[in-house]
């Protein structure tokens, strides 16, 4: 497919608006890329009674918003949404489409890319435009410590998914102006072959690791489940949250909801203390936004130690215990 313009489209994924601001974050990044492509920043919104999201997207940088508002679209529906996006893209032929890597986005993007016979890169940690005007899709790769830059040179649009927390939203500007382009629902959308019977919101978890200013991360180097309890003790003492690496989840020392990394949570604490973690890219891609990192590892050459503001060469357990003692002492004063 040849493009008609250099526009950057962002899929408006509003279902968990208050928990997940990935659409706003993508609009912000699109705003940084648009001057390099020379196109407009567009949001695409499907649903019913969605005016408030349309205004939010304009206030966060969308210059145009394509809207299909119809009772039939009240619930997120994978087949209708795929068909709508396919038609819209074939009609308007943008250069780039960005989709948040929510559960829905991860199901949606591959289908849209396949329908349009184009490429897709999952879970990008950065996006940029190269000198030929192509989007560089940077994504962790090869199961280890490597990062790959990926292009979709010949097919359009260039599509990427991005996890929440990768980019920063711009602040809300109520005076921003944007063009709203409303479209009717096509009358020949195929019958839904997947039907939602029931949907209920799962109970909210407590304070989230994404929002805390202190995160204590523990890795395989803590040694055992018993010893790992010190990580929880320190986090509790500092009124922070616990983050872990994948081997820790696999060993059952902590639950999957504490996983920090590409496959888990993205964090941006004021302080991160990391114990016994080697620093694989799948983990460190999620801690970029930590203001200050203290890493403890017996191996001074571990990648995590190089990424730290302060690298403490020591046994992870002994150091954790000593820090607990020190803080207890200082709080009592």
């Amino acid at each position: 497919m040849k493009t008609l313009n250099r526009d950057i489209w962002v899929f408006g994924d509003y279902r968990n608006y208050f928990q997940n601001r990935v659409t706003l974050q993508l609009l912000a990044r699109a705003g940084e890329l648009a001057p390099k492509t020379g196109g407009s920043i567009c949001a695409i919104v499907f649903g019913h009674d969605i005016g408030e999201y349309v205004s939010e997207y304009i206030a966060h940088g969308a210059e145009k918003v394509y809207v299909v508002d119809h009772p039939q679209l009240k619930q997120y529906s994978i087949e209708a949404y795929t068909g709508l996006m396919e038609r819209l893209i074939k009609a308007h032929r943008p250069e780039i489409l960005l989709i948040g890597a929510t559960c829905f986005g991860k199901e949606y993007a591959p289908k849209v890319a396949k329908r349009l016979k184009t490429g897709l890169t999952a879970d990008c940690i950065d996006l940029d435009i190269n000198k030929d005007g192509l989007m560089i899709q940077t994504s962790p790769s090869f199961g280890g410590n490597l990062i790959a830059e990926i292009l979709t040179p010949n097919n359009r649009p260039q599509i990427a998914t991005v996890r929440a927390g990768t980019f920063q939203e711009i602040s809300h500007n109520a005076d921003a102006k944007g063009e709203v382009i409303s479209m009717p629902i096509p009358d020949d959308l195929p019958m839904e072959r997947v039907r939602l019977i029931r949907s209920e919101r799962l109970p909210k978890k407590g304070r989230k690791i994404e929002d805390t200013s202190v995160v204590i991360c523990g890795g395989r180097g803590m040694g055992s489940k018993q010893k790992f309890k010190k990580i929880f003790e320190l986090a509790h003492l500092m009124d922070g949250e616990v983050g872990v690496t994948r081997p820790v989840v696999h060993a059952g020392w902590s639950g999957p909801n504490t996983l920090v990394g590409q496959a888990g949570r993205q964090i941006s604490p004021k302080i991160l203390i990391s114990f016994g973690i080697s620093g694989a890219i799948q983990h460190t891609a999620a801690i970029d936004d930590a203001d200050f990192i203290i890493a403890v590892n017996k191996n001074p050459n571990a990648t995590m130690m190089k990424l730290a503001d302060v690298a403490v060469v020591a046994d992870a357990n002994q150091a954790c215990l000593a820090i607990i003692k020190e803080i207890k002492k200082k709080i009592q004063l």
Partner: protein
């Protein structure tokens, strides 16, 4: 009779594999393989459905020749036959081309299927894209991250958790699901069982020519996405290194950075002097 297909992938046991700097792809031939964990859950789900509804299971895998082992492991678990798609020209396929090749093979070897089951993602790349793209390529509905399924006549009832919602869905058949590794814990197979499966070879091996793909198709060349550069991440932090006796290090840590630590905790820590 219920006609089930399971797509499985052999993945490296270790996550850190050498890669070929010329092509930018993994040198998988160097790794010992195992069946991707969530693919095993998909197979377990298929076996339970098959037991309830008198079904048969065909397992497909695309990969290097040694991926045949994965098919025998699947048969030891309870699959009836296997199809291995292997060809140098398939190497370096992105998810677009992988799903295209799998779809061709399914249409050729097992066109009358009722349900395709895939793992929700692989442990070595985690894109989670092949399942949904395969559904598109086959022109059938697909649902990802399914935790439980229940079959009655010609609709499938599905339960899943997605973006903080619990959803119950109904899907027409034929269709495709990707299975999350929670509910369908795979049955154990003994080494002896795998050995036995090898004694009754029931695996078809197909290359690109057998699939009537475009004769010029070379996965690396025709994949829409191209890897242009691979590198390891760098950093530009001051990187102060503290070493020595633990107690001394921790004292130094709080002397120099107590403000920062306390600031993040919302408490004043630095007022204390060490004797």
């Amino acid at each position: 009779m219920l006609n089930l297909i399971v797509c499985i992938k052999q993945v490296p046991i270790v996550s850190e594999l050498p890669w070929d700097s010329k092509t930018g792809t993994l040198r998988r031939e160097l790794a010992e393989g195992m069946v991707n964990p969530s693919c095993k859950h998909a197979l377990e789900a298929a076996i339970r459905l098959s037991d309830q509804h008198n079904g048969k299971i065909t397992v497909f895998s695309m990969g290097p020749p040694m991926a045949e082992e994965a098919l025998y492991e699947a048969m030891a678990m309870g699959a009836n036959r296997g199809v291995l798609l292997t060809d140098k020209r398939m190497a370096g396929a992105d998810t677009y081309i992988t799903s295209l090749i799998l779809a061709r093979a399914i249409k050729k070897k097992c066109p009358d299927f009722d349900l395709v089951l895939c793992g929700d993602q692989t442990s070595d790349s985690e894109t989670a894209q092949v399942g949904p793209q395969l559904a598109e390529e086959l022109g059938i509905p697909g649902v990802t991250n399914v935790e439980k399924l229940d079959l009655s006549t010609h609709t499938l009832c599905l339960e899943r958790q997605t973006d903080d919602f619990l959803e119950i869905l109904e899907m027409d058949l034929p269709g495709l699901v990707t299975i999350s590794p929670h509910y369908y814990v795979p049955r154990h197979v003994s080494l002896g069982g795998v050995q036995q499966a090898f004694d009754y070879p029931n695996v078809d091996i197909l290359g690109t020519d057998d699939l009537e793909l475009d004769p010029g198709l070379v996965a690396l060349k025709h994949s829409p996405t191209k890897i242009i550069r691979v590198y390891s991440p760098a950093t530009e932090k001051e990187n102060i290194v503290l070493k020595g006796a633990v107690k001394r290090i921790v004292n130094e840590l709080f002397d120099r950075f107590g403000d920062r630590i306390g600031g993040a905790m919302g408490k004043d820590l630095k007022t204390h002097d060490h004797p």
